[in-house]
Symmetry: C2
Subunit: 232 residues, 2 copies
């Protein structure tokens, strides 16, 4: 007998922590679970991996099905494999986090999901080990964003320096020295100043910027320290 035929088989799922930023709060996209167990409770978006589907393809699929967005930043960060984590049947979950521009979010194509954005700080309790997944994803995002300009994936095409600063403050749960942080950001040559001001947030207004795509790609791997460590 081959060792293959004696080995156990498992359900394998992907779960995706979808982060967004609305200019004020760091948010996560949650779904109202429409199957048992825990029907009607809040959950991360996820799904079983298909017979001929790669795990990352499945993780992209569940985001696309929920949001209509394909152009996303996504990263695998952990496997959740506690044998008892799903009460119905053992399911090994491959976890990803995703950063999307919340402005591109369309109302979900499939209304069965009843998705909603929640500020991370005010999210409801989630099913299974999903709260642990969110905690771990945030930790990974903090690590990553301290070294790489990955948080720009959460911003719309044009944004102001105060908006970026609020985003970093939200992600790390800290207060930044706004003047110093702005100086550091501008010195990285990641931003192109536009000849246009955002005037709703302040009387004086704040200039809009957009990302210098070339420098963004080149500097992504350069590991600039955006946030001093340890960050807590």
């Amino acid at each position: 007998m081959s060792i293959y035929s004696g080995a156990p088989h498992f359900l394998v799922a992907v779960d995706n922590i979808i982060f967004g930023f609305d200019g004020e709060k760091l948010k996560i996209l949650l779904v109202h679970r429409h199957i048992e167990p825990e029907k009607g409770k809040w959950s991360l978006m996820g799904g079983f991996i298909g017979q001929n589907e790669r795990p990352d393809t499945a993780a992209l699929r569940v985001v696309r099905e929920l949001t209509g967005i394909s152009d996303i930043y996504m990263e695998h960060f952990e496997v959740f494999g506690e044998p008892q984590r799903d009460p119905i049947e053992r399911t090994i979950s491959i976890a990803y986090f995703t950063l999307i521009d919340i402005n591109k979010y369309q109302h979900q194509i499939n209304h069965a999901y009843s998705a909603a954005w929640f500020p991370l700080a005010d999210a409801p309790q989630l099913i299974f080990d999903h709260d642990e997944m969110v905690k771990s994803a945030l930790q990974k995002l903090r690590y990553k964003a301290a070294l790489h300009p990955v948080l720009f994936e959460l911003l719309p095409e044009k944004f102001t320096i105060p908006q970026i600063t609020i985003l970093y403050e939200e992600v790390y749960g800290i207060q930044l020295d706004k003047r110093n942080f702005a100086r550091k950001l501008l010195s990285l040559e990641l931003l192109i100043k536009l000849n246009e001001k955002e005037k709703e947030s302040s009387k004086k207004g704040a200039f809009y910027y957009r990302l210098n795509e070339k420098n963004y790609k080149e500097k992504f791997g350069a590991m600039t320290k955006f946030i001093p460590f340890p960050y807590v």
Copy 2:
């Protein structure tokens, strides 16, 4: 019908890239595969996840079975889930890399594995996608070791500065400015100088050091830049 009963089930394996350092070369521990397919070829150490076993427990188990060592540094870095990666049956592989002190390595308890250490640069071609796994593990190790003092996990209890320098040179495939690197290492207060010299490598001899365990733990998360980026 529940969505659970309609979902496909898969074999799930762990594969473990086991790194060691013998004072001269960065090495990986490979096994002669004793099952079909690809029987007799070289492979990473791995195994199927047991019915009630966590993935990380399985990854620790395969290292212990092969080397007799339980006290290791291990990290999950990627999932390999290409549907065709195993020609017998689709197997999703959860990949880990492990750093062990090669001096603690005992001849394998189970001789069926016929394990052997190979210098990374002279390793034989491996089965399936295992070459890709090794490449990706090395990349992850380089990233990690540029920020955290993780490579000390590969060293014996006492070591010399020239040995550490050779280790970093091996991991990154670069030539370091030995004097500058030694100065940087010593400034981190990770090392305790011993009153004893290693005299085989040079006439003058080199002082032995050991790790300051307290500072090692405290500074592990501090992300000192050991190697400038980008490192290639």
